[in-house]
Symmetry: C2
Subunit: 273 residues, 2 copies
C-alpha cells in the first residue's frame, strides 16, 4: 500500500515533516512517498501547491495526505480547496490558543525559525563553533566555558550529540574520548577532574560498539568484541567510582541522548528553534 504525503509550509516545512514522520511511523504497512514544498508564501505558490496535490491525486487514484503549516488564512484556504486531506498544524492549534489567551494572534509569517535577535543568533553560532573547536579532546583549555563535557570510549555518539546540543539548544558542549593510555592508573586526566560536575558519560553495550566499530574498521583489534568489552567495563568502573552520571546510548537516537543530557544536567536552552 502506497500513499503520497506532501508538506506545504510558508517556511522550511521541517516542523511539519518531523511531526508527520512521527505520526506516519504508526502505520507500518503503508509506504509513504514524501514531497516537501517549502517557502509557500504567496497565493500564487499556494495555488501551484494545490495543482501539484491534484495531479498527485489523479496519478495515485487515492487522496494525498497534506501536512501544512500556513500562517496566512488565504493560503490555507487555497490549499484546502485541493483534492488532498489537508491537516494544517498551525491553524488547528492557533484558535484554542487565541481563545485561552484572550488575544488575537498576529498572523505574521516567519516569526519563528528566523535569525532571531542578534544575541540568540550569536549564541547559536558560538555554540556550533565551540562544539567544533572542542571536539574529540582536540583541546582541553576551554572547559571553564563548557556547559557540559561528554566523555566515553570512541564511537558512543559524543561528536553528534555535541553538535546537536549546539544546533538545537545553543548549549556549549565539549567532548573527550577516554582512551586507555589516559587512564593508566585508572584516574581521570586532570583537565577532566577539574570540571567533574560538567562531565556526563556516554556508554554503550559492548556488542553494539563492536557493530559500530566494525563498519569503520572491520576485523581489527579496535572492533573486536574482546576490546569493546574491555574498554566499556574499564570506563564504566571509572564513571561509577568518580560519580560521573552516564547512560547507555545503544538504542538511543542523537535527539534522545541530547535531551537526556539537557534534563540530567539541568541545562538551559540558549536558543529556541
Amino acid at each position: 500500500m502506497k500513499r503520497t504525503v506532501l508538506f506545504v509550509s510558508d517556511r522550511t516545512g521541517i516542523t511539519a515533516e518531523t511531526l508527520a514522520h512521527s505520526l506516519l511511523s504508526q502505520f507500518e504497512s503503508v509506504e509513504f512517498d514524501k514531497i516537501n514544498l517549502p517557502f509557500v508564501d504567496s497565493l500564487e505558490k499556494a495555488e501551484a501547491a494545490t495543482r501539484r496535490i491534484n495531479e498527485v491525486a489523479k496519478t495515485d487514484g487515492v487522496t494525498p495526505l497534506v501536512f501544512s503549516t500556513l500562517v496566512d488564512d488565504a493560503l490555507r484556504a487555497a490549499l484546502e480547496a485541493s483534492d488532498g486531506l489537508v491537516m494544517d498544524m498551525f491553524h488547528t492549534f492557533i484558535r484554542p490558543l487565541e481563545k485561552e489567551l484572550g488575544i488575537a494572534s498576529s498572523h505574521a509569517v516567519g516569526r519563528s525559525h528566523g535569525v532571531g535577535s542578534d544575541t540568540t543568533y550569536q549564541a547559536r553560532i558560538d555554540a556550533i563553533n565551540y562544539a567544533m573547536a572542542n571536539d574529540d579532546g582536540i583541546t582541553t583549555s576551554n572547559y571553564d566555558k563548557a556547559d557540559v563535557i561528554l566523555v566515553g570510549v570512541s564511537r558512543t555518539g559524543k561528536t553528534p550529540t555535541s553538535l546537536y546540543l549546539a544546533l538545537q539548544f545553543g548549549v556549549l558542549s565539549a567532548n573527550y574520548p577516554l582512551i586507555e593510555q589516559d587512564m593508566g592508573d585508572d584516574s581521570l586526566p586532570e583537565a577532566l577532574s577539574e570540571h567533574r560536575a560538567k562531565l556526563f558519560g556516554l556508554s554503550i553495550l559492548p556488542d553494539r560498539l563492536r557493530q559500530i566499530r566494525s563498519e569503520r574498521r572491520p576485523n581489527s583489534d579496535y572492533s573486536s568484541l574482546r576490546q569493546c568489552e574491555h574498554e566499556v567495563r574499564h570506563v564504566e568502573s571509572i564513571f561509577r567510582r568518580e560519580g560521573i552520571p552516564f547512560i547507555n546510548t545503544s538504542a538511543m537516537s542523537i535527539e534522545e541522548i541530547a535531551t537526556t543530557v539537557m534534563e540530567h544536567q539541568r541545562l538551559e536552552r540558549r536558543w529556541y528553534g
Copy 2:
C-alpha cells in the same frame, strides 16, 4: 502578561517544542515560561506531569498551556484530567489519518526518532563525520563523494549549514571558504571547478557581514565595511560568471538556508528524523 507552557512527550518533546515555538511566536505581548517534560512513558510519570501542571496552575493563577505528543491513550487521558489546556499533537492528527488510511495505527511508542535501521543510522553518522572532515576547505580530496559543496566568503553560515544538512537530512556537505588569494586571477580553484555542479554559493549583505565579523574581531580590517563590500562584490561576480547558484543569507536561519540548498540542488534526504 506571563504564561507557563509545558511540553509533555513520551520521547524528547523536540517536535512539540518546535511547533509550539512557531505558534507562540504569534503572541508577541505574552512572555512564555517553558518547561520540558520529556520521556513521559509510564502512567506514573504522566501522573507526576499532571501534578506538576496543577501546581503551576495554582502558582500562576491562570491555566497553563500544555503541548503534548503522547502515543498511549491512557497517558494522554491522565494528562487531560489536569488543570492545563492540553493540546495533544499526536492524537489530533492520528484519527483523521486512521480514517483516511482505513487502518488502525499501531499506537506504539518510540517508532520514530529512534536509531532507525543500522543503514540510516550509519548514513546520518557518516554525514556528520563528512561535514566535520570537510569543513572550511580543510581538504578538497573527498569532493567526489559530496552531495553539495557550499562556497562563500568567511562568516556566511557555511559551517552551520553543512552540519545541519548532515544532522537533519543525512546529506554529505562540504564547504570551502573563498578567500582572495585563491582567486588571484578571478578563476575558481581547480578542486572546485572540477565539481561545478555541486557548488552552491552563500552570499550576504556587506553590512550584515560587517556586523557578524565585528562580533569576532571588532575594529579590524577583516570586519571593516570596505573589506566586506570588496569581498562580497568579488565573490558574487565569480558566482555569476561561473553560473554558480547563490542566495543572500543575511536574514535567513540555518534551517532556511539548508532547506533552500536541498530544494535548489534537488538533494534527497538520506535520513528522516
